[in-house]
Amino acid sequence: MARFMPLDEAVRENLKDGDTAAFEGFTHLIPTAAAHEAIRQGFRDLTLIRMTPDVVYDQMIGMGMARKLIFSYAGNPGVGLLRRLRDAVENGWPRAVEIEEHSHAAMANAYEAGAAGLPCAVFRGYRGAELARVNPNIKSVICPFTGEELAAVPAVRPDVTFIHAQKADRKGNVLVEGIVGIQKEAVLAAKRAVVTVEEVVEDFSGLHPNLCVLPHWTVTAISVVPGGAHPSYTHGYYARDNAAYLEWDEVAADRDRFRGWMEENVMKAGPDDFAARVAGLRAA
């Protein structure tokens, strides 16, 4: 049953050292505010899952919070490589990170299997792909009806999933729209789910009947954080801060500059700072 609470409480109650955690968002609706709160609270030894780890995972890895990363594309979209992740993988700084690497098709299927309560996902994939050689969690099964060999990967079942969404109603039902990505599957696959939203509305009456709504009883905690996806965006509220993604490439290039930036913009900041960051990105 969804409970409304401040973000610091929601993170403290639902994330623990050593957890397997997904902060999901497919370019759109990335739960940056929740990730920054987790950074401030200093969790360690996390297994981080995400299809497209980008800037916030670069930040968490650079702060030494992750033991392992399960992912399918680790880049700064449209900009380049993730420099803190590279430093961790190539040089073990600030600590070595174990990697379990998949394709998008595999991760999407694995989340869906998790949401569906299945132990594994089966799909036509990884043919001729070398990831199957380096990732022991990529196996194959034979279709009992046709004899076709298909790829199999274990279901993704996070201890906790964090997502950002447009809005909740007073009961705690959550509406996600635009590029809905993998959010619904990531919430339903997880034991606990924390959602940050732009706003709370009285109720969802009058909306299109097929919108993506997560019923309040699928969500553990909701925190209202306007701008909470920045520098990602929230469809209908504010645009993606592409300039910030370009800037991150420079910030993350240097260890000291990275630490300074984190101190200034994350450690000394809070959830309330996000609204101002998107003020110039809102539609007129």
């Binding site: 497209t52 880049g75 190539e90 990884y126 043919r127 792909a129 965006y233 209908g236 509220y237």
Partner: protein
């Protein structure tokens, strides 16, 4: 209009390979520019699909990421990511997968995972994303990249996305029923696989490009078709369409201009 850069020629030559009948799964970067130039010139009815779930999208500026709001705002529909990969890609509804590459070999195998050893990489690249399955589930695959000895290599460090493997009927032997890479467009030339060996062979040189220039920027010994053509130069329309698109894109990304259309697609 005689003045154009090799990169502009590459994008325009790539755009010409697409038609209004195609359903194209678009990779970010060079493929995205080519696909949108095609849509804005000779292929207005092409269906462009980005892996974020946007189907039939028509962005006014090139997206920086595969999930920019512009893609969703202008799409016919936007589906969840699992549906994208299951129903639309795996389901066999994509005619062309359009990919870029960090490293490419002569059989169209692509590496976007690591430079060096996987366990101890010299450079950790972003990884495969959608590409491993785009490469095997799309009807055929077009590849576009600028030529360099670092990028076009005799042997790639990691087989992220399977092309023709060791050549010949390697795809068939693995049970892959799609055609794989059928076209490579670089900043210097157009390449097609040999019908038997599947080795990429230069079939057309861009204007002003020599065989030596192609060989000097390629890490394997280049084969040229017996009848070598010259790529027609960009037309005035193609070049102005590409340059306008790039100018709009630069202005949008650098300025951080508000692009969210509040209520545009709300229910």
């Amino acid at each position: 209009m005689g003045d154009f850069t090799p990169n502009e020629m590459m994008t325009i030559a790539a755009s010409r390979a697409l038609t209004s009948q195609d359903v194209c799964f678009v990779g970010i970067g060079a493929p995205s520019a080519a696909c949108n130039v095609a849509r804005l010139t000779h292929a207005p009815d092409i269906t462009l699909i980005y892996e974020s779930g946007t189907i039939g999208t028509a962005p006014d500026v090139l997206p920086l990421s595969i999930g920019d709001g512009e893609l969703c705002d202008t799409a016919l529909t936007t589906v969840p990511v699992p549906e994208m990969f299951r129903y639309w890609l795996q389901g066999g509804r994509i005619t062309i997968g359009f990919l870029g590459a960090a490293q490419l070999d002569k059989y169209g195998n692509i590496n976007t995972t690591v430079v060096g050893d996987y366990e101890k990489p010299k450079v950790r690249l972003p990884g495969g994303g959608g590409a491993p399955e785009i490469a095997t589930s799309s009807g055929e695959v077009y590849i576009t990249m600028a030529q360099s000895k670092r990028g076009m290599v005799e042997r790639i460090d990691f087989y992220t996305s399977f092309g023709h493997g060791e050549g010949g009927d390697h795809r068939k032997r693995l049970g892959i029923k799609t055609k794989g890479p059928t076209l490579l467009i670089t900043d210097l030339a157009i390449w097609k696989p040999d019908p038997e060996t599947k080795e990429f062979t230069v079939v057309s040189l861009h204007p002003g490009v020599t065989r030596e220039m192609v060989q000097e920027t390629c890490g394997w010994k280049v084969k040229f078709a017996e009848k070598l053509e010259e790529t027609p130069p960009p037309t005035v329309l193609e070049l102005s369409t590409l340059r306008d698109l790039k100018a709009r894109t630069d202005a949008a990304h650098k300025g951080g201009a508000p692009a969210a259309k509040r209520g545009a697609k709300d229910g």
